[in-house]
Structure formats: structure tokens, C-alpha cells
Amino acid sequence: MSANAMSRSLRKLGLGLKEHYGIIATNKLSLLGFWIIVLFTLVAAFAPWIAPHEPWEMLFDSKGEFAALRAPSWEFPFGTTHLGYDLYSQLVLATRTTLLIGATSGFISIIIGANIGLIAGYYGGKVDEVLMRLTDILYGMPFLPFIIILIALFGRKLEFVILAIVLIIWRTSARVIRAQTIAIKQRQFIAMARARGASDLRIIYVHILPNVLPLLLLYAAFNIAWSIITEASASFLGFGDGETISWGGMLYELWLSGKTRVAWWWFATPSVCIILLVTSLVFVSRAYEEVANPRLRKR
């Protein structure tokens, strides 16, 4: 798909790329968040070229000594672990995993949540009842036991971490989109679309969906942020993918090493990254929240 065709199909979804940037740029914090996300995305994209070492490579310093538990220096900018692994390389490579999990589960969960919300809200009645009770059941599902059982059954694989996150987080977006759908389907232009002979599916996806889009993007940003935090907690508890390094996984290794009190740089770097990325996502979602709910805008 050419860039032009892509921007055209994006426009069909409601707005062009330029307009999206316009929404984000109205708010300074959102703009800052946006560029932080862009930075992390670039790091993730070029991670193998940026990282100087393998994530689990024992390193020796320039004098030939084993580089265990080194504080940040010119040679090891973010320090090293007790086994001489370079934290800078780990961090860069982990960015890729974290963003991948965050974006994938955020994206899949918003698609599930949006569809369930739109269908429940539009059809109402029994359909609504069944779908919303399903959502309620998920609300009663505690996340950690759920992921522990899932991982115990299927193994520590990236796919299952994503699956566990997706299965849990679509619930909030579904509820919110449902409420908005109910509000929009009462509007007269929906009745007019029906009078013009539009089918149910056409009304849902062509007439209602673009009107819930700002809310959808807001929750997409929330879902991505939440996925990142969730992945970090799961990995910290040892339920992440053992083969791939992630920010939460780095904290898990720190915990296992028992050096938490000594190596401040070891827990500082992944923690700051998690906080920075999640905060940026929340800042960007603020901008969409202002579109979805103009009353929040500063006067």
C-alpha cells in the first residue's frame, strides 16, 4: 500500500495523519509524550544495531577484568549486572520486546473491546446481556492467578503473555464503547441512515464507529500503557518469556541476584523507562480525551 493510499484509508477511518498530529500538538505534554514514544519506537526498531553487546554476554573491561556490578561509566553507560551483562544493551533490546507486547496486546484488545462494545450497544437486549455478563465475569478474574495458570499450562512464551493480557484488558474498552454506542445510536442521523436503507453492519461500522473513534484511540493508548505495566509485572514475577529480555525481566533478574540494595543503577534504568513510556502514553491519551470530552479542555 502506497503512503498515499494508506493515508486515504486512514482518512476513511476519520482523520488523516496530519489531523492526528494536530490533535496531539494542542497539548504540550502530549507533544512531549508523543516524541518520547517516537524515540522509544526508533530504539526498538534499530535495537540490534544500537546495542553494543548480546543481552546475556559476560563482559570484561578494557583492563581485562571481569566487569561485574559496575556502576554507570563511559565504558558501561548504564552499568553492569553481577554476571557482567551490559545493562545498556539489555535495556535497548528489552525496549523492542516491551513495545512489541504493548502494541500488539493494546491493538488486539482494542479491536476486541470495540467490536464487543459496538455490537452489545447497538443490538441491545439479549445480545447486550450476554456480552456484558461475559465482561462482568472477566472483571471478576484476578490477573495474576490467571496468567500464572495460563503460563503453567502452556509454558513461558511471548504469545501466551500477550494472550493473557489481551483476554483481560479488553473489558474496560468494551464497556466504555458500549455506553458511547448507546448514546450515538439514539441520534437522528442513525435513524436517517436506516431510512436510507443502510444495513445493521453498515450502521455499526460506517456510521457509529467513526463517531466513537476519539474514545477508541483514547482507550487504545490506555490499553497499550496497561499492557506494558502488566507485562512488566508478569515478567518481574517470572512469568515472562524466558528467551527474550524485557524491562520486567531485567527487574526479575535483579531480584534473583539479591543485589537490589547494592545496584541502584540496575533497578533504576528499567523502572525509569517503564514510567517514562507509560506516562508518555497517558499524556498522548490526554489529547484524545480532550477530543472525546471537550469539557476537559482548558478555557
Partner: protein, 345 residues
């Protein structure tokens, strides 16, 4: 008003005993009952009545736009000889909605989807029913905008960039887009200021000479209906009280309610005359009617009016239909109804 009469031909729309009931906690509400009429090709049929008399419910039942709580029944509802009641939803949507029966809704303000350009929405409704290219549909839109007096450049505007009058015109353009046999106009000028109203009505009249569509015009504004319609029905309590040609209805009204409505509108010839309103309010319509629905407010009501709902009587060769037991006394009523005291009984 000078439309050619085609009485010998099959009517465009023929409705017999149409009724709509809403389910409520207090039992079914018969919002519309016993509605029968024939609509000829190229005819403007006006339906007038006060708020809550069932006008909108009636036309929404024809377009299948009622909520699930409503049940529609009819002995017959034939469009060009085709039974509309038995048609499955999908076929109705494809073959009848918009391509044969289109709608100009009550408030055009809220009738366009705010996220799409006006032109694209009209193109969408054309392409939903007809396999034409986007470019062809756009040409059609330009022609339609020309008909309703909007510049073709406005096709690329969003609904919020339109004024109320422009939106109403665009709505009319959309209703004309597929050359439907019937256009239903549900209070097309409500909410617009008087000057814009006049301009829209003039435009509708001009369009009438260019297209073949019949129009059902719904309004509570007697003046609008008198000006536009060939035939008029006066609706009250979910039923037609009187149905006649526009001239007959205004020159020889039979039903006391029609007389009351006439009183309530100012006349240019009689500036300064006090308007007489009909005291009371419309009935609630829970359960079937056991009397004439207008009897409690009617100054001429007698015992017979309160014991049964009167049948429709065809006068003047069946052309003038009245639902009133005292239609024979109408000549006297016409004079008496002009007295204010008569209405304050």
C-alpha cells in the same frame, strides 16, 4: 394544487386500516388506528394535526422506522400494487427504502452524520441502491444540489458548516437522489425561521413541477399544508377525522375539529381578529377508543358521540370523508364555530 388528477389509474400507495400500537406498562397505546387512504401519482397529500396525534408514528410505520415496542397492523398497504407489510426486512431495505420511499426528516440539523462530508453521504445513499461509479454519483449530486439551489462546491463541506436552511435543502436533495416514487416530508420546515421556511417551501413547489414523485407532507402548520397540498387529512387521536381535497376541506369543512383548527390560525383578510383556540388536550389513547376521540373537547358533542367511535362517512360522492356522527349538521356548525363562546362550554 393544479396537479393532474389520475383517478382512473392504480394509486401509488394504498393503505387500508393501518394501526400502530406501542407496548407500555399501562397496556397497549393505540397511537394510530383505522387509517385508510389512497395516494395518486404526483399528488401531494397533507396530514395535519396537533402534536402527539400520531402523524410521525404513521409515516414511521410506512418506513419501518418504529422502535421494537411498536406493532403495526394493516388490512392492506400496497405500493404500486406490491404488499409492503409482507416484504422481508432485507428486501424492503434494498428495494423500497430510499429508492422508492424517501424521507425528509423533522430536524435536518441532526440528520447528517457529523463525521462525513455532505456530498459523500448523498453519494453513499445513491450507491447503496444503484450500481453506479463514484464519479457518476457525484455528477448526480451536483445536479441535485442545483435543483435545491445549493452550490456544487458545498458537496465537500461538513454538515456543521451548513446553516439550518442549507442543511434542509441538502436533505431534500438527498431525498430526491434516487427519483423515489414517494417522498415523505415530516415537518420539513419546523425549526427554521419564517423567511427560510418560505424559501424552502417555494423550492419544494418548484421541484414538484420537475419531478414525478408524490409527496406526503406532515405538519402541524395549517398554512403550510393549505398552500402545498392537493388533498388533506386532518388527524386527531391517531385517526383521520376528515379527508378531502384541499379546496373542499377549507371551504366546506364538516368536522368540528377541522373548524377548530381553522379558527386557531390567523387570516390575512381579517387582521386583528382574535384567534380562538380549542380548549383541552388530546386523549391518552390507552386501550381501544369507546367514543369519538374529540368528543370531550367538542362543543357539538351529543350522547351518540360518547357511546361509540363514529364510522367514516363518504360525502360528495365519497371524495370527502368525515368521521363524525353529526356531519349532516355541519352547515350550521360552520357559522357557530366562529363564535368564541361556543368553544368555552
Amino acid at each position: 394544487m393544479q396537479a393532474p388528477k389520475t383517478e382512473t389509474k392504480q394509486p401509488l400507495l394504498s393503505v387500508r386500516n393501518l394501526g400502530v400500537a406501542y407496548k407500555t406498562a399501562q397496556g397497549p397505546v393505540h397511537a394510530v388506528s383505522n387509517i385508510s387512504f389512497d395516494l395518486a401519482e404526483n399528488e401531494v397529500f397533507g396530514i395535519a394535526g396537533e402534536s402527539g396525534c400520531g402523524k410521525s408514528t404513521l409515516i414511521r410505520s410506512l418506513l419501518r422506522l418504529l422502535p421494537d415496542s411498536a406493532t403495526v397492523s394493516a388490512d392492506a398497504c400496497l405500493y404500486r400494487g406490491q404488499d409492503l407489510m409482507g416484504l422481508p426486512d432485507a428486501r424492503f431495505r434494498k428495494d423500497i427504502l430510499w429508492s422508492e420511499i424517501s424521507l425528509v426528516p423533522q430536524s435536518a440539523m441532526a440528520s447528517f452524520n457529523p463525521v462525513y462530508r455532505v456530498g459523500d453521504q448523498i453519494i453513499e445513499s445513491i450507491r447503496a441502491h444503484k450500481s453506479v461509479s463514484k464519479a457518476e454519483a457525484r455528477e448526480r449530486c451536483k445536479a441535485l444540489f442545483d435543483v435545491v439551489g445549493l452550490e456544487a462546491g458545498l458537496l465537500d463541506s461538513f454538515p456543521h458548516e451548513f446553516s439550518g436552511g442549507m442543511r434542509q435543502r441538502a436533505m431534500i436533495a438527498m431525498a430526491l437522489s434516487l427519483d423515489p416514487g414517494l417522498i415523505v416530508m415530516d415537518e420539513p420546515t419546523t425549526g427554521l425561521d419564517v423567511l427560510v421556511q418560505e424559501r424552502i417551501l417555494r423550492r419544494i413547489r418548484e421541484i414538484r413541477s420537475e419531478i414525478k414523485s408524490s409527496i406526503i407532507l406532515i405538519t402541524h402548520d395549517i398554512a403550510v399544508i393549505a398552500e402545498m397540498s392537493d388533498r388533506i387529512a386532518i388527524m386527531y387521536g391517531g385517526e383521520f377525522m376528515e379527508q378531502a381535497s384541499a379546496v373542499d376541506l377549507f371551504e366546506q369543512p364538516y368536522h368540528p375539529y377541522t373548524l377548530g383548527l381553522k379558527n386557531a390560525f390567523p387570516s390575512i383578510r381579517n387582521i386583528g381578529a382574535e384567534l380562538i383556540s380549542i380548549p383541552g388536550s388530546p386523549p391518552t389513547l390507552i386501550g381501544p377508543l369507546q367514543s369519538c376521540p374529540f368528543a370531550p373537547r367538542c362543543p357539538f358533542a351529543v350522547a351518540a358521540c360518547r357511546s361509540a367511535n363514529p364510522e367514516i362517512v363518504g360525502l360528495e360522492g365519497g371524495q370527502h370523508q368525515v368521521r363524525c356522527v353529526r356531519h349532516a349538521d355541519a352547515v350550521g356548525f360552520r357559522e357557530q364555530a366562529k363564535e368564541k363562546a361556543v368553544w368555552q362550554f
